[in-house]
Subunit: 173 residues, 3 copies
């Protein structure tokens, strides 16, 4: 089985940069699976910043919701970097026909069948004051469930703080 | 002296599940000291979810505020799991006759006299943006003070991230 | 080159107390560089609490914005403790003539020229729900960028949780 690596951390903790460096160490050509959708100028700027940093050697696949399908279609020799699970969850929860629990189950099953490595970036969103509104609380809980589910099947889980990576799970390759 | 274990983490990080598994490893019968109060349907659902997961071998004691008393009354052979300190603090801060600093002092003194192990679950609530309103800031600070006080006397402190436990303090048993 | 130590953690996690103890281990006399400004009673109380805890052996320098200048002026034998970067960033972002990116660049360059050790306290603010308002999001991102930049040049990075310090970077002295 392929190596599954989950990279988590707060906003602007350096998790994407760490994940990209790790992917670059795993293969000369890499596939970037982007879940971000540019709804507004702020989001466009974030996407552009990531794109500039990555540079050559990357093929980008945009897939806001069908992550399992994107992983199946891109499985081969090249490592894949999924950035990020939290936006994927947001897209799934906001979609009218969304079913994030079902989609998570499919994602977990698909990850277990991959040949090439997959690095998944996610966010820590549950370590602040519990939000006032019920939707934000549901999102916070769902994000935690996603992180636990992927953490459980991952060979490696890494927490990034102030740009520094701390390995919190390191199973056999 | 008994082993005191503090388990912290964000919302839905997997800290309760880890704490339950740890308690199960410590004794065939366990006592669950629940601080949650079912004020609304959301809270009832959370309590029911925890109850279903725990299964057999657990005796539940509901004690929203008098934790020290509950610990004294249940001390014997069975390990105790307190879930969670953050709700206990909330209950104490919201009570008209509440005195969380006094209650914390009593709790710390009581913990130092226990014979059977105590596992205490708590929440990280101070790693987000500082809240706008003064009450939330007071709660955030108080939660940090509680975690520090219990962390100081604990034999073990564990941080749970994405379902994975990271030991951050491990004193002698 | 001098030892640069970055201490991060959530609100009331015990990071200042840990940083103070570390500074005390590094020198009999220490310089405290305070970035806090007492705008209101709440802030005054926090400053007074820190001051009381520190006790003898400390010289305090108040410098809400010109951190690089304060470090240059205080460089000698005594270790310096900067508490904290997050308030410094806030002051810089709120100032009409503020330029936090430029100031961060100057700070990084200045840190690399220090003779005596510098311990810098900062806050984790990016692990909660992403804030609703754009200013808070900009601050959250900027705080992450500051932490990454100092983390990159630090010899040591320490994360404090429940009063317990976890070393996440430990380079050569």
């Amino acid at each position: 089985m392929s190596r599954i690596i989950l990279v988590t951390g707060g906003a602007k903790s350096g998790k994407s940069a760490w994940a990209e460096a790790r992917a670059e160490a795993l293969g000369a050509s890499r596939i970037y699976i982007a879940t971000a959708q540019a709804f507004d100028a702020e989001m466009e700027a974030r996407i552009a910043e990531h794109l500039t940093r990555r540079g050559a050697g990357w093929t980008t696949v945009e897939q806001p919701r069908e992550l399992a399908q994107a992983l199946t279609e891109t499985d081969g020799d090249a490592p894949r970097l999924v950035d990020c699970l939290t936006l994927w969850l947001t897209n799934e929860m906001l979609a009218e026909d969304g079913d994030w629990r079902g989609a998570l189950e499919t994602l977990v099953a698909t990850l277990s069948r991959q040949t090439a490595p997959v690095i998944l970036v996610t966010n820590e969103v549950g370590s602040g004051i519990v939000p006032d509104n019920a939707l934000a609380r549901r999102f916070q809980d769902a994000a935690g469930v996603v992180n636990q589910a992927i953490g459980a099947i991952a060979d490696e889980v890494v927490l990034v703080v102030a740009g520094q990576a701390l390995t919190i799970k390191d199973g056999a390759a």
